[in-house]
């Protein structure tokens, strides 16, 4: 019920439901406290207005209401923290899939696009060098490197197979961007000078968007990429087509 009420986007990854469950739980707590406080607030404003209560009480409220509220909040927060938040975060930043089973991809943000870099069938990313950066080669990929020969690069378009873990090595060429996949419940800053691993498992076919979620300059609003989640056969076909194309270009 709460999920509907909150109007969150579709869940398109394996861990999305877990994230949303936390959001829903905290909103139940918020709603409970707000309605409780609100009802009390409106009642006292009415009951203890000057007209109804001309002489105030020096001692005021008695009883343990305050203490029980505080204890309740503390207990719920401990449960949220220990039961949900800390373990959920650990699976996000520690339990990475192995490079053998996962689709591994390098993503490099720049003002204002996402450079996508697949290692090709050899599973090895080719060498990159900033002195080789040109308009046609925004990653500065050194095609003379043996490992680079089969590498596939795209701009703003990420192809992924469904139900296979994706391991992204995320970085940036210039300023801080943030790799936001709303439907996948993924967000990770792309910070120049650092490479950050991000992982998720797409579980829903379709087209999604990559939205830059950190102010990165005047074109921030249009730094939009696309994700196509396909079934395994379609993904493989796309991948093979890319290899054919690479072999065709001298």
């Amino acid at each position: 019920m709460m999920t509907k009420l909150l109007g969150m986007p579709v869940q398109a990854s394996q861990h999305a439901a877990e994230i949303d469950q936390m959001t829903v739980l905290t909103h139940w707590l918020m709603l409970f406290l707000f309605v409780g406080w609100g009802a009390f607030f409106i009642f006292v404003l009415f009951r203890f207005r000057k007209g109804a209560n001309p002489r105030a009480s020096y001692t005021g409220a008695k009883g343990k209401l305050a203490k029980s509220t505080e204890v309740l909040v503390a207990i719920v927060e401990i449960v949220l923290l220990v039961g949900y938040a800390i373990p959920a975060w650990a699976t996000r930043v520690k339990a990475f899939p192995s490079e053998n089973e996962a689709v591994v991809v390098r993503i490099v943000g720049e003002q204002f696009s996402w450079n996508i870099h697949y290692p090709g069938p050899d599973g090895k990313f080719g060498r990159t060098d900033i002195s080789k950066v040109t308009a046609d080669n925004p990653l500065g990929l050194d095609r003379t490197d043996a490992a680079a020969k089969d590498d596939v690069t795209t701009i703003n378009q990420l192809y992924l197979p469904i139900n296979r873990p994706v391991l992204v090595h995320l970085s940036s060429k210039d300023v801080i961007h943030s790799f936001g996949l709303i439907e996948m419940r993924v967000k990770q800053d792309a910070i120049p000078g650092m490479t950050m691993p991000v992982w998720f498992v797409p579980t829903r076919l379709g087209e999604y968007e990559i939205s830059c979620s950190q102010l990165c300059g005047l074109g921030h609003f249009r730094m939009r990429g696309f994700i196509t989640v396909q079934n395994d056969a379609d993904f493989r076909k796309w991948f093979d087509d890319q290899q054919k194309e690479l072999r065709a270009t001298p």
Partner: protein
């Protein structure tokens, strides 16, 4: 060893001595004054003007969000080619408005009004002091702030415009953006921080040294406690940002690389800098200030609200001691939660567990304070005056702001909400209908003390109800937008993205609500000037209040009190059983 200190009574006599023998000229009396009340009013007026200006920037942004790419009516043609050609806002200008709205509201509006204005004017009066401990440093603090403000405003004039990398000024963006705006911003910030540091040492010294006879710490009005803790936050949290600001300035103008890593490629060309710096270092230094800064914004507001609630409920605050301990604990904890702003930078399990835990812990004293203020209403005899309405509205508004912090403070739910409008809704509920409502409450409450006249109740109530409705229509839809995934800081409001399509229409509602909010402030402006001249003239204690400022004449002269104040009891002794009237001021001796 006992430190030789000047007893307050000596300072008090001394101040009167000066007052009696030296008539000050106009400039020294109203412009370069060392009187805490004049400085407080200077701070307050300047702060209010900046709040209005910062709000104006936001109203422009709201047009662009409601109607992306449409010419701005009325003002558009005056903005110039470099900002809005044909009246259509450029993305660069939108980003400048965003960065400067945040900077101005926080550093030039709310803090100067809450701390510089109310703190300076009210605090010495409430502790029975004739002035601040260091009146000249106080004057310097205002003028350094003023220079900082002028620099910030001046940054709009070069055609390349003001800072445009957010009020957070994250590196490398802020450094590599080749305009002068960021340089102005950094220099301006150095002045503003210096001003706050000068103010904070003065506040701390004054509260420790200049309390009236009989005014023990546990008899201090809660407002003074709030200012006391706030001053420590300013004193301890600002220096790291001052240092960081200087480092960023060096990166900007002297070619250093404190915050720039190696291998940057800007627009296809390698950047010629030494490198080896770290952009995250800036974020840590920035948030080490900017999180305590949140409490600098909220604590004085809580102090003001507590004063007004006690006064208008005609009963003591519920749980005064709990309030004091909570505010001290809050101040302490605010230093160790900063990295919850940085969960998305790639934080490991240990760090994130630590900062999530401290964030949950800091919510407890906030709950204690809110509960104590709510329970204070039980058994009351509530007078719904204009200041009381604003103070009461603070409670649910701050409640919403605080509660919506929960899903942001837990790292996994923050994944979805980070950098969306949910965050904007959250902190604006704390600062706008929270703190700014409290500041309005304070203005209506202490206006009679500062001017000897009351503000108009009818205009005040129109101002209140109009503002309450409009401000909620601005910020409530942000939660809906944020949950749908709408990112903040988007020039077109995120109109290109599929996931925003269902919530974009709220931008129009928010636009009209924001402009309506602007219109309702006119009631306040009219009321303010009208009441200066024609407001109902009042005596020393028009609200029948208990704290020391109501012993001084309205307005108080130089040196504040006519006789040395002595404190006989706790701050909020209202409706004491057996007393003849329903308030027993701190300054009235027990009847023999």
């Amino acid at each position: 060893m006992e430190q030789p200190t000047t007893p307050p009574s000596v300072v008090y006599e001394h101040a009167h001595h000066i007052d009696a023998h030296e008539e000050l000229g106009w400039w020294r009396k109203y412009v370069f004054s060392t009187d805490h009340k004049v400085i407080g009013i200077q701070y307050a007026i300047t702060g209010l003007l900046f709040l209005l200006f910062g709000f104006g920037l936001m109203m422009l942004m709201r047009w662009q969000l409601a109607y992306p790419g449409k010419p701005i009516p009325l003002i558009g043609p005056w903005l110039g080619q470099s900002r809005a050609p044909m009246g259509i806002m450029l993305p660069e200008f939108y980003n400048q408005l965003g960065a400067m709205h945040g900077t101005i509201m926080v550093f030039l509006g709310v803090v100067p009004l809450a701390v510089g204005g109310f703190g300076n004017f009210v605090m010495p009066l409430q502790i029975g002091a004739p002035d601040m401990a260091f009146p000249k440093i106080n004057m310097m603090s205002y003028w350094v702030y003023y220079i900082g403000g002028v620099i910030m405003l001046a940054s709009f004039f070069p055609t390349t415009g003001a800072a445009q990398s957010g009020w957070t000024s994250y590196t490398p963006l802020s450094v590599i953006t080749a305009t002068s705006g960021q340089t102005f911003w950094l220099v301006g910030m150095i002045f503003l921080i210096t001003s706050s540091l000068l103010g904070s040492i003065n506040f701390i010294t004054t509260i420790v040294q200049l309390r009236a006879k009989g005014l023990s710490y546990m008899r201090l009005p809660f407002f003074v406690w709030a200012q006391f803790v706030t001053s420590f936050l300013l004193l301890l949290a600002f220096p790291p940002l001052e240092a960081a600001g200087i480092l960023q300035l060096m990166d900007k103008v002297a070619g250093t690389s404190f915050f720039l890593p190696s291998g940057l490629v800007i627009s296809g060309k390698p950047l010629a800098v030494a490198g080896q710096g770290n952009p995250l270092l800036w974020q840590h230094l920035f948030w080490f200030l900017a999180h305590p800064e949140v409490y600098v914004l909220i604590l004085p507001a809580m102090g003001i609200v507590s004063e007004i609630i006690a006064n208008n409920t005609r009963k003591p605050l519920w749980g005064y001691k709990a309030l004091v301990y909570s505010v001290v604990f809050l101040g302490f904890m605010s230093f160790i939660v900063w990295a919850h702003h940085m969960f998305m930078t790639g934080m490991g399990t240990t760090m994130s567990a630590f900062f999530q835990t401290t964030t949950m812990i800091i919510s407890i004293p906030s709950v204690v304070i809110l509960t104590a203020l709510l329970l204070s209403l039980w058994g009351a005899s509530i007078r719904f005056t204009t200041p009381m309405l604003f103070a009461l509205a603070f409670l649910p508004m701050f409640g919403i702001g605080g509660l919506t912090g929960l899903p942001l403070g837990l790292a996994p739910s923050d994944i979805h909400l980070h950098d969306t409008y949910y965050v904007i809704g959250h902190f604006h509920y704390v600062v706008a209908p929270g703190t700014i409502f409290a500041l309005f409450a304070g203005i209506y409450h202490w206006f009679p003390k500062a001017t000897g006249r009351k503000m108009n109740e009818l205009l005040g109530k129109l101002h209140f109800w109009g503002s309450l409705v409009c401000i909620n229509l601005v910020f409530m839809p942000m939660f809906i937008q944020g949950l749908a995934g709408m990112n903040r800081r988007m020039y077109d409001g995120g109109a290109q993205y599929a996931h925003n399509q269902g919530v974009l229409h709220w931008n129009v509602v928010q636009g009209y609500a924001a402009w309506g909010l602007g219109l309702f402030q006119i009631f306040f402006i009219i009321n303010f000037f009208m009441s200066l001249k024609w407001g109902k003239a009042v005596d020393k204690n028009p609200w029948e209040a208990t704290t020391l400022e109501w012993l001084a004449p309205s307005p108080p002269g130089h040196g504040n009190f006519l006789t040395e104040p002595i404190v006989y009891r706790a701050p909020y002794e209202y409706s004491v059983p057996g007393a003849a009237k329903d308030f027993s001021p701190q300054f009235e001796p027990e009847k023999a």
